[in-house]
């Protein structure tokens, strides 16, 4: 009845926004940055990307602009946390609230227009989906096999020690935040340009928060993020299928599924991670703490 291949293709598409955003946040968190502004950066990317794609007629320019916009708005967070040493939780919240407001304000003129068509890539799969899948091994390789990745992990694990060894904590973190912003921007733009094909206010609908949960789920590994994104893509597709099949459950309850699944997964994973630090695979040691060098 249901063609498994087409379900898988839907799953790939549904998981892509979260995959991008969570991979970006993975890099930030590995550098010790807990950026709760993912939702705000995604919606910024969703609008900026859509606007650029609409204006130029080229969706790929849209994605490029979305990445730049996401990185640009993440600079606000960088200034707050890295220069003014503001609390990371509060600053991330501020970024999300501000991003949502800004996108809603500038998005008005783009309501009701359609995104330019997006050419398919190999096997009829969107190029951006391919890019997301490619980013997984690339980020794994960067983190585990390159010198810069090692320094990034060191900064996130113990910023005092990294500083004592002469590494620039602030610079590393600034770069990680900007990368996270760019990835969240692309993820947001995928929703507006490639999935929904138009702009609506608040269209990311918590995807940024789910991405944050997936980073926890992944135990801070790239392939774990992929598994998490697919899991949520699966739940979303299943939920949509059930809605389409007109099962005798209110639509509103079915649409809770991704959020409830997030909570369940968080609970299962958190319970396991509490005692797994010796085996590795736990939160970076300096996650969420600001660094201030006394010179």
């Amino acid at each position: 009845m249901i063609d498994p291949l087409s379900v898988f293709l839907l799953l790939l598409s549904a998981s892509t926004p979260i995959l991008f955003a969570a991979l970006g946040e993975l890099i930030a968190e590995r550098a010790g940055i807990l950026n709760l502004g993912v939702e705000g950066m995604m919606i910024t990317g969703a609008l900026a990307g859509f606007a650029a794609a609409y204006a130029t007629g080229n969706p790929f320019i849209g994605f490029l602009v979305a990445a730049l916009a996401g990185a640009a708005i993440s600079l606000l967070y960088t200034v707050l946390t890295q220069v003014f040493l503001a609390n990371q939780v509060a600053s991330g919240l501020a970024l999300t609230l501000f991003g949502l407001g800004l996108a809603a304000m500038f998005g008005k003129p783009f309501e009701g227009v359609k995104a330019p068509p997006m050419p398919d890539g190999p096997f009829g799969i969107n190029w951006i989906v391919w890019l997301g899948l490619l980013m997984v091994p690339v980020i794994w390789w960067f983190l585990n096999r390159t010198r810069r990745g090692l320094i990034l992990r060191a900064v996130g694990e113990n910023h005092e020690a990294a500083h004592a060894l002469g590494y620039d904590v602030r610079l590393t973190r600034t770069a990680a935040i900007a990368f996270g912003g760019a990835m969240a921007g692309i993820g947001g733009a995928f929703i507006s340009i490639a999935t929904v094909l138009q702009w609506t206010e608040g269209m990311t609908a918590g995807a940024g928060w789910i991405a944050l949960a997936i980073v926890v789920f992944s135990s801070w590994t790239a392939f774990g993020v992929l598994a998490g994104a697919w899991l949520f893509g699966g739940v979303t597709v299943l939920q949509l299928r059930l809605q389409a099949a007109e099962v005798d459950v209110p639509v509103q309850l079915l649409s809770m599924a991704p959020y409830l699944a997030t909570i369940i997964v968080l609970v299962l994973i958190s319970a396991r991670q509490t005692y797994s630090r010796k085996a590795g695979g736990a939160a970076p040691g300096s996650l969420g703490n600001n660094f201030h060098a006394l010179r």
């Binding site: 090692l150 060191a154 020690a161 060894l165 002469g166 590494y167 010796k278 590795g280 040691g285």
Partner: protein, 506 residues
Amino acid sequence: MNSTAVFRAEGIGKSYPGVRANDDVSFQVDAGQIHALLGENGAGKSTLVKMIYGLVRPDQGRMSLMGAPHQPADPRAARAAGVAMVFQHFSLFDALTVAENIALGMENPPPRRELSARITKVSHDFGLPLNPARRIVTLSAGERQRVEIIRCLLQNPRLLIMDEPTSVLTPQEAELLFATLRKLAAQGTAILYISHKLDEIRTHCDCATILRHGRVVDSCDPRAHSARELAAMMVGGEMRDIDRSGRQAGEVLLKVQDLSLPAPNAEGTALKSVSLELRAGQILGIGGVAGNGQEELLAALTGETRSASGTITLEGADLSPLPPEQRRKAGLLTAPEDRLGHAAVPDFSLTENTLLTAGARKGLVRNGLIDHRAARSFAESVIAAFDVRTPGPHVTARALSGGNLQKFVIGREVLQDPRVLVVNQPTWGVDASAAAFVRQSLLDLARQGAGVIVISQDLDELLELSDQFCALNEGRLSEPCPTEGLTLDQIGLMLGGAHGMQEAAL
């Protein structure tokens, strides 16, 4: 002077807001020499070595390394010039492997496999075996230090700086460390050795530069002086003698029976069937290398972790099910090791910090409501009685020096007139005069009939204060022995000898 000088400092000065950390410091370290840098906490030792290692830049003066000017912009430049450093608080990354940690400390690390092979080889050559694939979090303190040392050795440094390296080691591990340093010195490496442990400096160092208040006050051959003379140079006056008289053991106050607790987290230590007895007027010393259950034992006594019923009794009453406030009411008071963040809230004023422990016994809190005036006057009385140097009780804990805050924390408990006081590392990182003050106040408390438990890694301190000595090793507490006539070697064996040697040799 002569051509063997590896490092030379001339007229180095460095100021921080309100503090002259270093003033006109000059000295030199020769090739093949183990050179001690001796001084109290706050004498300017750390600032000086941070300048050599490129973490801080001097305001005045010149440094040279191998005859060339030495002005490192950052630690990487210093490493490139041939300076290596082993930090007091290890600069290691818990979640990363030994090999990754070592790669981070090198400028141009070889590829992974080659680096692992070199680590294995060098560590065996120096008798400090290490497995490059292990994660730091699984290593003992002694093994962690090995990682730091191997990291330095792989760079063939001309000058090796060691910042208080033996503070976390057993006496046997310290011996092993000095054997390694001797080997290195014999190969021509200059070693700058920072410590305030006078005995080890007298036995192992060739030369000593003594700092006080940021200035060089003397330079000498430490082997030609007694520990007492060195201490006098360091402190700038005679040391006060401690008065141990007038105490006699009374009835049993505190009894711990078969106390077992699982490790609180992955880094913690499980307590395994700990038993002890403390009498009135007695001071019980508990020695051990850090991370062997000291914090866990203190937490169990404080009530931060609860143990099975009947495991902790005070004067016959079972305290085990009671939370911290109730235990304090009963007369069991504690002072944790970490002053800033555990014994005191750094951002709170001294007045507010009295409320952490003294609410019930001093009547500072009634019906849940805080009597701020009573709290302030209690803070003032602690400040007066314990000679805490501060502008007043409104100052935040963070703003006090280590010694003054420690006096405040100990005073806060002592002035509550405890039946039993348990302190962990009461003089860690505290200047000599404050340390003497704290020790004397513990002795005075015992003389008045209270029982005192001192948990410490400073063996000299334990021998000086306690009547009975126990060792805490991997969560097990040894049988107590009388301190009279106990030697350092015997204590070292009680502490578990050279920690983790067998494990690492595999």
